[in-house]
Symmetry: C2
């Protein structure tokens, strides 16, 4: 099979298309399938972008990013996690998508592999295949809070494995990895001669717990993060990756070619965003309120939430009590109840038939309406 | 050798770093090495971006782009070239860098090859290597106006060759391919069962001639273009690629993963840019004036311009009368005359020792000063 034929579409896109058809017919659809903040970008960031537009600087930045943004992020790491990161180790990318393309292009040779959790973020598999590598999808379950553990990594690591990816908090499960386990995972990757790649894009969107940066445990972890989620800046396409000194030169060469540089205006906006802590706290509290509501209501409807999600804006629910085919279940829910949620198959194949993902990046009023609709639909369906 | 070790840095970056050192010491350096417009983005585009910021839409667009921009480009193709292109064939990318990453990820399997001109745009080789492919660098000379010809393509095409790339006008030579030859090139690629990839990023920056779109000759050519050069929008990272219907689905799958989408704000700005023809004509005339000046002065100093460049903002000069080592020549020019130009080695290996590239994306006053400095330096050096 040609590489391109291994690149899977997001299956939820078909569901989204059908949702749009129904909306075009006049139906209101409740969207709990989308992994994008419903909040607009904070006003202070918008104002900073306008000021940057007035400055007349619309030119390329250096490939590795605007040095002011690198420096601001370096200071931010000290304040946020108490870790010292030299600015030149912080490479500015077009979103975390760009960060992953960069990392796999730099690390992988044809046929080399990367350990991923199943379920996990579906693009990971495709980034790795596009770089000529092999994704090794490791089933994870509630016992490890749906995360790769040191034990799983030691067990599945093989010749040619270059890295293991931890998404913390996880997409789709919203669960945090145990702090002690994160340290062990970092130690295992180092011992095995590879890299820990810590996807921290949902950091800051945590509730009653704090996600730890992998750099707190391992100086050579590769950190991927960005402004899309916590700062509600998806359309700006701005993220970063922190690499060990030994990878900076290789990454710079790749960046000069595949990006030239990240968007200039977005980089100015990002500098301001780092100071927008009050504005992002308002969003975090709203997510938390929605999460609490769903955590209390969904189990009553038959959705089992085995590990409490403490981060991101996702709830990964076991639907075994309701169906043995989560895909059909989601389609029925859309057609009969007008509620869109994502079937497990978009995140892997391990027990995907038994799971769905709810996103609460949608206003609380809509979420309440969605829950009411699901309740009505299920009570009819089970009669 | 690992793939990453085959990715070459831009050698001119070292020269640029040295130039910055000299500037830090108080020297004025004349920059004729940089391939980035010196003009700021047109004011009407800046205003459109501010309006977009006020609209509150900072969310992802569809992966293939904002449908309004696709439609605007479709109409633009009709006006600019008289070719009808369905909007859904126009895929919006983060710059042409993104467009090339996308195309090679979609087309190539490990070991498959792409024909490139030597000299040519250096990133091409690296895009292809990063996709696991093999760049076939074909020496081109003044006889074909430094372009791949149908004859060269027929001669060098081999099993596993998937495409040939024509950069028209060319970087580094600024030359246009002959219209009849472009048609023959398109015919050859089709006959050989592969694709013509036409890099048209310098379209519109032509002087006394017009570059033809490859779609005028072949409906299945792949067109790469963007807003960076003609519209002076480098930092916005916004471009596009036109693909045949048969490639849309595969490209969309790749785009969903590697980009999610191009920057939202830049897409709004781009829609406005397409109506900024007066503003871009002012820039084109300024480039033309600079070009005329250099075309009259450089030959007097010993730089041979074998084929008149009619496009882009580059002049590719043969320096055989002045040196047999263009790299040392450029370094000496920087150190002794304070003028930065790019040695041929950045664009390939064929006769690169005998060539340098002048960029006139620099104000005319500086260019005059540069020519004066070169004259003084050469008259001293040859005494």
């Amino acid at each position: 099979m040609r590489r391109i034929d291994q690149i899977e579409p997001f299956r939820v896109m078909q569901l989204l298309e059908r949702a749009k058809e129904l909306e075009a017919e006049g139906q209101k659809i409740i969207h709990m399938e989308i992994g994008e903040p419903d909040f607009p970008t904070p006003p202070s960031v918008i104002e900073a972008a306008k000021a940057a537009l007035d400055s007349g600087d619309n030119y390329y930045t250096p490939s590795t990013g605007n040095p002011k943004l690198q420096k601001a992020l370096s200071q931010w790491y000290l304040g946020e996690y108490g870790v010292a990161v030299a600015p030149e180790r912080i490479l500015i990318t077009p979103g975390t998508s760009g960060a992953f393309s960069l990392i796999y292009a730099t690390l992988l040779e044809a046929g080399e592999s990367v350990l991923l959790s199943d379920p996990g973020y579906p693009c990971q598999r495709n980034f790795i295949r596009l770089a000529g590598g092999e994704p090794l999808n490791i089933p994870v379950s509630p016992e490890t809070r749906y995360h790769l553990s040191a034990g799983l990594i030691e067990h599945h690591w093989k010749a040619g494995t270059r890295a293991a990816v931890v998404i913390n908090p996880s997409n789709p499960t919203g669960t945090l990895i145990d702090d002690g386990e994160l340290k062990k995972v970092a130690d295992s990757c180092r011992r095995l001669g590879g890299y820990l790649i810590s996807d921290e894009i949902y950091h800051g969107l945590t509730y009653g717990a704090k996600a730890r940066c992998a750099l707190e445990f391992s100086d050579d972890a590769i950190i991927v993060n960005g402004f899309s989620k916590r700062w509600a800046m998806t359309g700006w396409r701005i993220g970063w990756v922190i690499v060990p000194d030994s990878l900076i030169d290789a990454c710079r060469r790749v960046m000069q070619n595949i990006f030239i540089a990240a968007p200039t205006l977005s980089q100015y906006a990002a500098i301001r965003a780092l100071a927008a802590s009050d504005e992002i706290e308002v969003m975090r509290r709203a997510y938390d309120e929605r999460r609490s509501y769903l955590l209390s209501e969904l189990p009553k409807l038959g959705f089992d939430i085995v590990v409490e999600p403490q981060g991101a804006f996702y709830i990964y629910a076991n639907v075994s009590r309701l169906t043995d085919d989560s895909r059909s279940f989601c389609w029925q829910m859309l057609e009969k109840a007008g509620v869109a949620i994502t079937p497990g198959e978009d995140f892997g194949s391990y027990r995907s038939d038994q799971h769905v993902r709810f996103s609460y990046a949608t206003g609380l009023e809509d979420i309440r309406e969605g829950v009411d609709r699901i309740r009505r639909y299920l009570s009819l369906a089970t009669k």
